[in-house]
Amino acid sequence: MNANALNLFLFVGLPYVALIVCVVGVLYRYRQRGFTVTSLSSQMLERKSLFWGSVPFHIGIVVVFFGHLLTFLFPRATLAWNSAPVRLIILEVTAFTFGLTVLVGLGALMYRRFTNSRIRAVTTRMDIVLEILLLTQIVFGLWIALGYRWGSSWFAADLSPYLWSLLTLSPETGAVFALPWVIKIHIVGAFLVVLIIPFTRLAHFLVAPLHYIPRPYQQVVWNWDRRAIRDPETEWSRARPRNN
């Protein structure tokens, strides 16, 4: 296979496959296999070392994830922010710090997973695949941040247009093809992460419970409309529950 074909596969074929599999898979899993959508917390089996893994990992990855997302969505704003060197440094140092946090947290989580027999008992093959993939991603991400400065600027300038071009179904790949292999691996890794979302515990981030905030605390569910049910003027069968 020549290099161009490989590039085309990795940076045009793979992202589309990943996105389609992810969307279809997540919808299917959420609607048909809702029971499997869970954070699969193992805190009940072991709680001390979880703290030093889970908390830094999650906080770090939330920041890093939104950092990437915002740069992708608002490249011009990012470039404008970066135009002052001080702000650029602040952004990069923050990003790098949270990247390190993820690394530390993930390391602690993986150590816990491999050394604690209770946690091993609840580990699936996909958990390990996912953790290795994430570890690779974070290692390469940190490497890029150190070795290919300044990521936030060239992400906004080169990669953001590329990703947008994918979304608008007119892929422009010139800039990506020319990138160093370290960055390419990071990008391909990201597509792989998207690809496996429906097949791993990762799906739980999609059900982050933000709807809790506006909700009243207590929830009461009537299977039937209680006011209408005894009223001879209404036909209660209008409100037939769907699961019957």
Partner: protein, 517 residues
């Protein structure tokens, strides 16, 4: 007035023999699955004792229930701000060791070991890891261990007792204990529902049963913290929380829940209560001493025409109203005021009530010389010259800690947020009924004694007989007055729970029309 109906329960503690049949019935039906082995939706613990999970009543450890904040209340260890900020690691979550690590034995080794000099043994192995383990704790290993240093002396309810009272409780010759069977209380102000970030937990409008929708639960495990009774459990295998479902498939069909049906001591009663849902918020926010009274005040008289009309307007079926009028729970809780909720100060407004046990509180049966005391006793007490009898006059019965085997305060800490008068009132009634029946059946008690005891507690002979009947003679249909779900309303009973037994334990409930709140 927003009248709703609630299936609620009374457990008569004097009758519990601690046989655990209830727990086993429940386990066999609902929790004999991977990840659920450690769960006892129904458990029976020895009091005084630490219970299951250990020291569950100590909310300084587990942060369950609600606490007063200003005019209102907030969850002690969960809720919107606390819950979401602790979502990656919940510092108040009990670990499996607070319950116990489930275990089994390698029985196959007994038959498959190669021939040798020693008898083969069946080693204990963990049901989580499958590895050999040292068993440190098992279900109900506190059984009957009143007075033991590990269990009884760590009982959180002892905190408010004086050292002297505590010592008195654990003197060998006056040691006493009783059993406390516990299931989910199907509260009116449930902490579990309020704490669930996914909104998977809900209270059914029709009968007040609190359920966790298994396909909506995401394993954020805040409910485990927020339930002060520790009656939601996290399934470590499926990553979902589970709790007592009050055998809703049985209730819908008009059958008693498995634990209640199988109860050997026949201590359990189940029936409908009508209550005013408009008062939930204010009752739960009342002062510590008032919560219990406010909760009792929410329970409405099912014979009051205004209540009936309001119930009908709210869609409560005639059969449910009829069941509420015949409800044994209403009799115990409201009419006779014999039953109390467990730890009302947790403010979840639990709808499982307990008739406090009389025996551990009564004076000692030891043979003593009564003559010096005779001075102090009132006229009626002197009718018992025998020095070995209980001192059963209602006035002297709870005189001082020296008379009682259990300080009344201990019972009050369990059932009335520390208010000894409430517990004493109920115990006196139980005693009066005994005196009355003793007079009827044996006749060695002076009628004046009985009359005084009954008058003391505001009972008539007729009521005393009714209490006696429902306590001792009541048949199945008297103890369980359950309106079957109307066929046209029975949604959940359409799902055959047997189909999903062994994987999730109970059916998926999805797509129900959500109305009201």
């Amino acid at each position: 007035m927003d009248v709703r109906s609630q299936i609620s329960m009374v457990f008569h503690l004097d009758k519990c023999i601690g046989c655990h049949t209830c727990s086993i019935a429940c386990k066999n039906i609902w929790t004999d699955r991977k990840g659920a082995e450690y769960m006892w939706w129904n458990n029976v613990e020895t009091k005084p004792g630490t219970g299951y999970p250990g020291k569950w009543e100590n909310q300084e450890i587990y942060k369950g229930g609600w606490v007063k904040k200003g005019d209102g209340i907030e969850l002690k260890g969960a809720g919107k701000a606390k819950g979401l900020s602790n979502i990656f690691h919940n510092p108040h979550l009990p670990s499996i060791d607070d319950y116990y690590e489930p275990f089994t034995y390698k029985y196959l080794d007994l038959v498959e070991s190669p021939a040798g000099d020693d008898q083969p043994t069946a080693r204990p192995i963990s049901m989580i890891t499958g590895e050999p383990m040292d068993i440190k704790m098992g279900p109900n290993w506190d059984d009957d261990l009143s007075g033991s240093p590990d269990y009884a002396r760590n009982d959180p309810n002892l905190e408010k007792l004086t050292p002297a009272e505590r010592e008195a409780m654990f003197q060998l010759e006056r040691m006493a204990f009783f059993y406390l069977p516990r299931i989910c209380n199907h509260c009116l102000n449930p902490g579990c529902v309020a704490s669930c970030p996914s909104g998977a937990i809900y209270k059914r409008g029709e009968d007040g049963i609190v359920l966790i929708d298994q396909s909506v639960c995401r394993g954020w495990r805040m409910c485990v913290t927020a339930c002060p009774y520790k009656k939601t459990y996290y399934n470590w295998s499926t990553g979902k929380s589970e709790k007592c479902i009050l055998c809703y498939p049985r209730i819908e069909a008009g059958h008693a829940p498995a634990c209640m049906h199988s109860c050997v001591g026949r201590i359990r009663y189940l029936g409908v209560l009508l209550y005013d849902a408009d008062q939930i918020q204010s009752a739960a926010s009342a002062d510590d001493a008032d919560v219990m009274h406010r909760q009792m005040g929410m329970i409405l008289d099912p014979r009051d025409p205004a209540v009936i009309a309001a119930a009908k307007a709210n869609g409560v079926a005639d059969s449910t109203i009829d069941a509420a009028q015949r409800s044994p729970v209403y009799q115990f809780v409201k009419e006779w005021k014999l039953a109390l909720p467990l730890h009302p100060e947790f403010r979840t407004l639990p709808m499982l009530f307990y008739v406090p046990p009389l025996l551990p509180v009564m004076a000692s049966v030891k043979e003593v010389d009564n003559s010096a005391q005779a001075e102090k006793m009132n006229a009626t007490a002197k009718y018992w010259p025998d020095s070995w009898l209980y001192d059963t006059t209602t006035k002297a019965m709870f005189g001082t800690i020296d008379d009682a085997r259990f300080p009344l305060q201990y019972m009050a800490n369990l059932f009335s947020a520390g208010d000894t008068k409430e517990v004493a009132d109920r115990l006196k009634k139980l005693m009066a009924v005994r005196l009355h029946r003793r007079q009827v059946t044996v006749g060695d008690v002076k009628p004046e004694t009985v009359a005084e005891a009954l008058a003391d507690t505001g009972l008539t002979p007729q009521t005393a007989d009714d209490i006696y009947y429902l306590t001792s003679l009541a048949r199945f249909d008297d103890r369980f007055v359950i309106p079957a779900a109307h066929r046209e309303q029975a949604i959940e009973m359409m799902e055959f729970t047997g189909d999903v037994k062994g994987n999730t334990g109970f059916g998926f409930k999805s797509g129900t029309a959500q109305r009201g709140a």
